[in-house]
Subunit: 190 residues, 4 copies
DNA sequence: AATGAATGAGGATTCATTCAT
DNA sequence: GATGAATGAATCCTCATTCAT
């Protein structure tokens, strides 16, 4: 007895299942059937709702990006103006970003960006937003917030990849590292 | 007309073909047959020489790493002691590192590292070597070469990914950016 | 036009096709595609329903064993107590057991038993059942039904293999042979 | 530096290696390369000497049959006339016949007989010889040596298969069993 | 809304066999 | 006599995707 208004519930379940499944597999080598089974439905229905595997994954990635965005917004709202840049850094290395599923999703996302335009578009949006957040946060702290933001953004990405791939215990080290650099970059001014 | 001593030739051809094919496809979604065809042999022979697809790719990655290592060594040899850190940075953003094939190979490599132990081992070796090179180069320039090396290494990775994925024209920007940060990090001393 | 409830039909068709195909080939050197084609479906569907080639074959063997078991049961039901041992012998050499497909299946089954645990399990079950049937049938006829049953069971297997491999026309000879031995073995009592 | 007169040595090594390899694999699923490697030569040479995989295996089977024939001959020569039938039975269940390699070879041999004429021919020869040996041995003991020989031959095959496939420890049981039946079959006369 | 049924297309891998040296 | 080189052909299996119900 098909219910009405199931669509958002189903889509949500699929997104969650996708993230979980990718996390367990460590890569995108996950079948649509596996995802659908975990989400409690047939693979046909998954296709019905999303149109194809890529789009299922993209939806999952959008979710991850959305969650991260929310985290950043919260962190910013709770911080004094001078602490906002640090807050962004802390959010970037939040343990939730180091869940195996999230790491795998990011790697897959990077790979996909090279051939899938929609993935590339998404990635650009994310990067622009991060840069904009950083620039704004740095505004009261340095005469050239854009330059510092660029450096920090790249550093965050680099530290993330290294922390993710190398040593599962390095998120904290990465945070401290980035914070130290931030200080140093700003310190040059004083 | 089978000649003797073909093995190294074939292996080499396969490695080259793998890199080229990955470059065109933008991912590891390349069949062994495609690679073998481009290398001018049957897929069976490719298997015969390497044992499997993963090992073919790993051999290709080793080649890329080897090439990069050689480039760094050359750059170091040709530089005055104070210019060595800058030389490593320049080598890291050498146009050869931004060939689509190289970028795709790196992404694939990152992905593989999450599940394939041999890939992970390779990646660690590469990272250790880069850090060691940087530390040594920074020795005459700063009292804490290790810390600066860590920052630079992460920054290089971050800038590389961003340059690779975002804007195919940004290698130069990345170089300058990294060099500027280097100066700033060292400048903290003065 | 996919109907619902096809599974048992498909499985059945595959089992039949497997037996037929093995019969024609004289061995398990039959591709899943051949079997599937004969069963009127794609090889992918065959895999979907059975999971793999071995399991397809095992299902076919189970069918053969089941058919044989039914035959024995019928023969036993229709026989007077003193004639039951003879009935089992007759059933064992029924022409249906000498269909090329059945012979090939048995040979394959024997081979498989050496490496495949499930096949070995099945074989043991079959042998236990045969022995139990024989023992029960011999109960009223001899003081040591177990010993006679063992001899008869081995004799039946030996005669079967010889009849199957040697002379396609020997089933009858085998039956008579086994019946004569039965008499002799029991005659020892008198 | 190719030596002269290597042919018999090579052939012998290959036959031995084939038996060993089949024994380890438990089936004919052994590659020519494996066999050749174990025999210390290239697979090409194996082909050169035997022409093909089937013929390599057939040569191995001939060896097994020859060994068994020799064993029987020896046993017969060492026995008093009344003990010859028993000697054949004992030879048939000699531990050497239950080496995994031998068992697997026999199974393979049976399978092959169904499609390979040369294998079938070989099998017939073996069976005729066994029957002839048994008949001769039974001559002084029973008025119908042919009939008893047929029964014993079938029983031996049946017990062999059962002993081989079921319980690796049953050779002795099989021997005793066959000897008991022999006695009984002859006893019917007295 | 939901799914069981079904498949085409492909893909890694294996192997017996051939051949030039 | 001996082999490294090479491959064609095959085979199992997987999976995203479609469709009738």
């Amino acid at each position: 007895m098909p219910k009405i208004g199931m669509e958002p519930i189903r889509r949500n379940a699929l997104v969650k299942a996708t993230i979980a499944e990718i996390g367990e597999a460590g890569s995108l080598d996950v079948t649509v059937s596996q995802i659908a089974r975990r989400a409690g439905m047939s693979s046909a229905l998954a296709h019905h709702y999303f149109g194809g595997k890529d789009q299922i994954f993209l939806a999952a990635m959008r979710q991850i990006l959305r969650d991260f965005g929310a985290e950043v917004r919260e962190a910013l709202a709770a911080s004094a103006p001078e602490a906002r840049a640090a807050a962004i850094i802390r959010a970037s290395f939040d343990p939730s970003s180091f869940a195996p599923a999230t790491i795998s999703a990011w790697m897959t996302f990077y790979m996909m960006s090279q051939t899938n335009p929609e993935a590339r578009r998404l990635l650009h949006i994310y990067q622009k937003r991060l840069r904009s957040n950083l620039t704004q946060a740095l505004h009261p702290l340095t005469p050239d917030p854009g330059a510092v933001a660029d450096t920090l953004a790249a550093l965050i990405d680099g530290l993330y990849i290294r922390a993710a791939l190398d040593f599962p215990d390095r998120p904290q080290v990465a945070t401290e590292h980035a914070l130290a650099v931030l200080e140093q970059l700003l310190g040059g001014r004083e």
